[in-house]
């Protein structure tokens, strides 16, 4: 109740501030025609464009200015929010004459910091079966160039626990705002589960390796605003200890097509994400492994107030013989939660299909996962799991149960940023 009163006082204060300014500022008689947000080499019309640089809430609030009487004090408030969200050095707003009499154009001019340093934790996870996983990255941004150095120890994604470093250079303005360039280098040491070592190598995959390095240049092009295409190459080499230590390479052409669309209708917000990625390892790039890895993903999210419903469908297919790190795995913190992947299939599979349905209300969430991973010429065995948890911002905790006969052995997970 106390918070309700405080909120009323705060909103009342805002309204009265607006009234005061409209009483004194002669420009409050004009109507806002358009609102543009422009930065160093980019510009967006908040009504016409669906720019990913701005959060939906802020974009909505800025777009709400259009068609309304000009409120100069509201512009100050929005400029502050833009500055905070874009980590900008300054955000200035300009009011210009519109195309029609008594209409004005509002332009927010964003000036970014020439140099910036960010420390981030892209992944932090504890799962009762696989233990701790985490990644920490430091990024120095100089104009359009980002230099990242990170440390990783991940026992959640693949059959291996990989630990090592990541170095990355990114240029997000390759002549135009529609082209980005990225070069990534990764170097890891591996630890293996006994079940995996006992099964690999076999006809469908490589053996367990001790170290792995990857060099990956990639260019991303924005084809049409919500559709992006990434093309590049991956030069991955790994050292197998047996029978004698030797290095093998899996060099591949990589491409990813991504689509993101947000639709907002009254109180409902629909987010659609779709993606297809191809990794084609070929002898042309002096690869020891020749294979094609296809992966499809479709994600739909419906948001209505505190209620969120998510459906995430993924599928994958590998033709040829791929190394262990490129195979598909289920039974981790994002897929078939509750299952231990070493019980399901310790060497993964070259076919995979998975669907996850999640319902969230405020901080509470329940989910139902189902999926199968198998090798060609095998029969797919669909597994199911259910779970519930709490989520606040980037932090979450969940307990997940595999649906199976006999004793249900739940997995407890707690994490940050990882799903």
């Amino acid at each position: 109740m106390r918070y309700a009163w405080l909120a009323c006082l705060f909103l009342g204060g805002l309204l009265s501030a607006g009234t005061q300014d409209s009483e004194f500022n002669v420009n409050t008689r004009y109507m806002v025609e358009t609102v543009l947000v422009s930065g160093d080499g980019w510009s967006t019309d908040v009504v016409a464009d669906q720019d990913a640089k701005l959060s939906s809430g802020l974009r909505k609030d800025i777009a709400a200015l259009v068609g309304q009487k000009l409120n100069p004090s509201a512009l100050d408030e929005l400029a502050k929010r833009l500055r905070k969200e874009l980590h900008a050095r300054t955000v200035e707003h300009h009011v210009l004459r519109g195309k029609s009499p008594d209409y004005v154009q509002v332009m927010f001019e964003v000036k970014l910091r020439p140099t910036e340093f960010d420390l981030s934790v892209p992944k932090f996870l504890y799962a009762s079966k696989s233990g701790w996983s985490g990644a920490i990255e430091g990024t120095a941004t100089i104009k359009h160039n980002g230099f990242t150095l990170g440390l990783v120890s991940d026992g959640d994604d693949l059959a291996e626990r990989y630990a090592g470093m990541v170095a990355r250079y990114e240029n997000n303005h390759l002549g135009t705002d529609r082209a980005r360039f990225r070069f990534q280098f990764e170097s890891y040491h591996q630890q293996w589960n006994r079940n995996t070592v006992d099964r690999a190598p076999y006809a469908e995959t490589s053996g367990a390796y001790r170290t792995r390095q990857n060099f990956e240049p990639e260019v991303t092009l924005t084809l049409a605003r919500p559709l992006t295409l990434s093309v590049g190459a991956s030069f991955e080499r790994f050292q197998e200890p047996l029978p004698a230590a030797h290095t093998e390479a899996a060099n591949a052409l990589i491409s990813t097509l991504r689509f993101h669309r947000r639709l907002e209708a009254s109180d409902f917000q629909h987010d659609l994400d779709a993606g297809y990625s191809l990794r084609a390892a070929t002898k042309l790039l002096s690869s020891d492994f020749v294979y094609g890895r296809h992966r499809w993903e479709f994600r739909y999210m419906l948001t209505h107030g505190k209620t969120v419903v998510i459906d995430n469908l993924t599928g994958g297919l590998i033709s040829g013989r791929a190394p262990l790190y490129d195979r598909f795995y289920l039974g981790n913190s994002t897929t078939l939660r509750g299952w231990n992947r070493f019980d399901l299939d310790p060497v993964g599979g070259n076919r995979m299909v998975h669907n996850s349905v999640e319902y969230r209300y405020g901080v509470f969430q329940v989910f139902y996962d189902s999926g199968a991973v198998w090798d060609r010429n095998e029969t797919a065995m669909v597994k199911h799991s259910v779970g519930l948890g709490l989520r606040q911002g980037n932090f979450w905790l969940a307990i997940a149960f595999p649906v199976k006969d006999g004793r249900a052995d739940p997995i407890f997970m707690v994490g940050m940023n990882s799903y």
Partner: protein
């Protein structure tokens, strides 16, 4: 020699002969520059109740304030008039502060001015000079109780308020009064242009008498 030369030229113009192009050019430059370079003066008058000021040559709708105005912003100027005795040594009474709220219609290219809480309503459609004049003419300090032959000194201060303080200053509450005092009591920053004009000694009996007028343009 110079004196006679000047006379000669005047004679030429009187005779209707053409003035040289250089003279026209110099005159064209001199007129706007003279306005800019004119030293602001402080003139004081008395209407029987209040002491009024006039500041010919003082142009405050310029520079960064004008840029903000042309960007549809509201700009607040803070004024303060203080009467002193003993050559600015002792204030006779509490200084009088006012908020001059100015905005600029970007379509009509005209200024609008207001003094919150003042008797005059907001005035619109003014040129820069008219707006400046309106603001200064509507400032006054009550002279009630000041003996007609008592000597006094007057200090007039004008300052552009920081942009971040605008919402608090145009809010008609006790907070805005405190804010005015707070801003006027601190040193102005380089981006807050300020002007201080002084005059004295003066006597009410010596001041030019003006008609008590309604404080409007």
């Amino acid at each position: 020699m110079e004196h006679s030369g000047t006379d000669h030229r005047i004679q030429w113009s009187v005779k209707g002969k053409l003035i040289s192009r250089r003279s026209w050019l110099l005159a064209g430059l001199a007129i706007p520059l003279s306005r800019a370079w004119a030293e602001p003066r402080l003139e004081v008058s008395f209407d029987g109740d209040s002491v009024h000021v006039a500041t010919p040559g003082l142009h405050f709708l310029t520079g960064s304030a004008l840029k903000r105005l042309e960007n549809a912003d509201t700009v607040v100027f803070l004024s303060q008039i203080t009467l002193f005795s003993d050559n600015f040594a002792t204030p006779i009474r509490r200084p009088v502060q006012e908020r001059l709220v100015v905005s600029y219609a970007i379509w009509e290219r005209r200024f609008a001015v207001a003094i919150p809480g003042g008797p005059a309503p907001r005035v619109e459609g003014l040129t820069d000079t008219q707006a400046e004049d309106w603001c200064i003419r509507n400032l006054a300090v009550n002279a009630l109780g000041l003996a007609p032959d008592r000597r006094f000194w007057l200090k007039f201060e004008l300052r552009t308020a920081p942009r971040k303080d605008t919402p608090a200053l145009i809010n008609d509450s006790g907070i805005s009064v405190l804010k005015v005092i707070d801003i006027l009591s601190r040193r102005p920053r380089p981006d807050e242009p300020s002007w201080t004009l002084t005059t004295g000694p003066l006597r009410l009996s010596d001041l030019p008498r003006t008609v008590r007028e309604k404080r409007t343009f």
